[in-house]
Symmetry: C2
Subunit: 208 residues, 2 copies
Amino acid sequence: MVELKQDTENKILEAAKIVFLQKGMDGARMQEIADEAGINKALLHYYFRSKEKLFEAVFKDVLGDFFPKISEVMLSDLHLFDKIKHFVKEYSNLLYGKPYIPGFIIMEVNRNPQAITNYFSSYAEKIAKANLPALAKQILEMSKNGEIRPVDPRHLIMSMLSMIVFPIISKPIVKVILFQNNDEDYNQFLQQRADYVSDMIINSIKIK
Amino acid sequence: MVELKQDTENKILEAAKIVFLQKGMDGARMQEIADEAGINKALLHYYFRSKEKLFEAVFKDVLGDFFPKISEVMLSDLHLFDKIKHFVKEYSNLLYGKPYIPGFIIMEVNRNPQAITNYFSSYAEKIAKANLPALAKQILEMSKNGEIRPVDPRHLIMSMLSMIVFPIISKPIVKVILFQNNDEDYNQFLQQRADYVSDMIINSIKIK
DNA sequence: GTCTATACACTGATAGAC
DNA sequence: GTCTATCAGTGTATAGAC
């Protein structure tokens, strides 16, 4: 094989992502990652010293795809209702395309809660000092104008995240309980859900 | 040790529960379970033939604590709003006491989605034939009376579950992102949340 | 950079004494 | 029923040839 270093490294990372996302850190096997990448086990250690390091690289990569989006929309100068609609729509679509990722993150963070603190301390600071106050201000003004009932911005964000993410990570369970394990029905349900969630959240704060 | 068979078996189950809940099937070690139970590794295999069998026993046990509650409240003859309040309150309290369980279930179901189908096929049938129609009927009547806007009962259930469960399983992440990793703030937030969720869901369907 | 071969540690499981 | 000792298998990691 006449591969450039960069290419092999990426090939490994992609393979590792596939295996780690499905099996998790503990369940994944270096052999399986090597097979998936079409290379040898020893090469994994040549590029990433250990399984732990390889996992770390994958984890950071995965996280980077998802969390910045949370604050992105929140900082825009859209009308609050449009912010909500936009965020729900964007995030839903993002997740429907990569449904295995939220469960993976939750699983791994639960396994090692310490790690998350390190990865996100700077990011959390940004949200605390920019996003939350901006959102709080917007909410306060609207409630003064009698357009909405006042609401804690953290509850608002938590509600949106909950209603978007939970149906994805709980799919195998809820699909059985509420949809007799019918995959098509469940996917259709998910597709309706983005609009339903936007309406629900807006309705809950709107003064009619 | 002069222990009765029953006692040792329960001691093992409790120890296994502790370890499996924290580490998951793949991360758990038989040695650690034995230590936790204060007995020897060989005894684990004497009582439960294999790690897989032991895990299965723990998993079924854990599931049994949580899912029957979902349909219980739904079948009562309470007013819809009271049903919602009651369910949210009960389920929240249940989860706050055992916060590690939802994440565990989701992790393991993701690892082996096939298993869940077997465990819950009969239960899912019951919900499909009794709970959902009953709830749908109640919603239909109230919307005819002009009390609420019509809503798909599955969306309603999904919303409640999402808003209750997600803040628990995502705690390590959200606590860092929105609460600067302050545990006390987060717990306080969770305690307010049950009332917030009830109000929000009711407000979203109520016609004022 | 990439491979084969292998070292080394760990883990689930069993055998056998008490 | 409970223990100690041990086996067999598997997994991460390294050595060394090309």
